[in-house]
Amino acid sequence: MKEILEILEKDARTTPEEIAKMLKKGVGAIKSAIKKYEKEGVIVKYKTVVNRDILKDDVQKVRALIEVRVAPQRGHGFDHIAERIYRFPEVKSCYLLSGSYDLLLVVEGRDIQEVSSFVSERLATIDNVNSTVTHFILKRYKADGDILKRIEKNNRIAISF
């Protein structure tokens, strides 16, 4: 039933009826498998991939990648301090990394000032946060496996043997 996930990751709108046909299974079985995945948190939620760069009159939001060095805490390791940080709604993603710094955040704000003040006033002031480095994102080419540029359609001739 793991193939259900593969299908939904490609297109979350695929209905249980369609999945049942694709996998040659009963609709009931598919529905309950999806329910189970949702309950277990395997399926977290269903979202839409949006490329706002195309909306000309849209207010562009600003995103930055932020490297954070922290001091891990006794008994909690990194989890505790990570949670202190990722609970902020401005933090869109949060990863613990190997290498020269510990946490990598994706932070979103209305403009550069907003992101900067989030970093300097909220993030850097947390106990155990030792240092931060901010990289503003200038352009997104590909995100989570999706190329954001409109790729020219593969122009196959409409009919061939």
Binding site: I7, D11, M22, L23, N154, I157, A158, I159, S160, F161
Partner: protein, 384 residues
Amino acid sequence: MKISRVIENMKPSGIREFFDLVIGMKDVISLGVGEPDFVTPWNICESAIFSLEKGYTSYTSNKGLYELRLAISKHLKNKYALSYNPDHNILITTGVSEAVDLALRAILNRGDKILIPDPSYVSYEPVSEMAGGKTILVKTSETDNFKLTPRLLKKYISKGVKAIILNYPNNPTGVSYSRKELLALSKIFVDNNLIVISDEIYDELTYDFSHTPLATLPGMKQRTIYLNGFSKAFAMTGWRVGYACGPEEIINAMTKIHQYTMLCSPIMGQLGAIEALRGSSGSVLEMKREYKRRREFIVSRLNEIGLYCAMPEGTFYVFPSIKNTGMNSVEFAKSLLYKEKVAVVPGTAFGSQGENHIRIAYASSMDNLKEATERIGHFLKNAH
């Protein structure tokens, strides 16, 4: 100006007019395309770009790049325990289409009889005739799922039949043969001393059992011309790279023709093909899984909306029956195109036995398949 009698007598494709209609119409969902909807995997494209930057733009040896022949030899050995020597038994061609032509011209004398299943891929009959052969159409039937059976085959074999063209998994029907079925057929091929041109271009797209190359069966390797290529499995149709494997004297004969008519397959395509064999098995499996899901979906939907459709074992084609609509296959295809803007290929494009059937290619996105089956369902409701 007078053109040659052979070409003049060649039957024009009965559905040229229909093809022109499709090509001239806008916003059509086409399920009539005989090639993958995927783009060639990027590692292959990238390696071809790199080769151009390095200046690899020359001819190759007539037989094709040795490195590619070696890669093919290894591939067939690993996958099928089928061993062909890269020096003597393998020829790189400009797609399987060229290989079919070369094989036929290499083996046929004027008037030699050759068996061709009906329905079958469109080039076999005219190319056999151009090579001087006398074609005998083996009329397969829907009750056998359009497969050759020993009984049917025996009916058509007579003195003077020299060769047969086999294609599995099959375009247009999608059916393939199990090892057991092939064994039964191969006994007849051996007993009657037939040469078999075995077009196995869709081998990677076999869903329900493992593909068995004909040449791996007892007594078959010395009489089989094994044809395969990169178009379908690696989504490389436009690259035009195929290959033929077979006994040394046949490969030499084919190379003789090839060196004068084609010289060699384009080097960019050959270099891309090397990369395809080296590092694309992941992409091939991924595409295959996707095709399989689409196959289950389309067969189930077509039966649901009232077109009887068997579950084919391979390719990306299904060949449903339209008999209960009362229309013939060209009428059906035309009417469906006009009324619902969905293009399919009439079964008669592949031979008269294809009457009452249409070929649907499911090498199209799930969104297209959903919408197209919806429209076909609507079409059927209004047709009654």
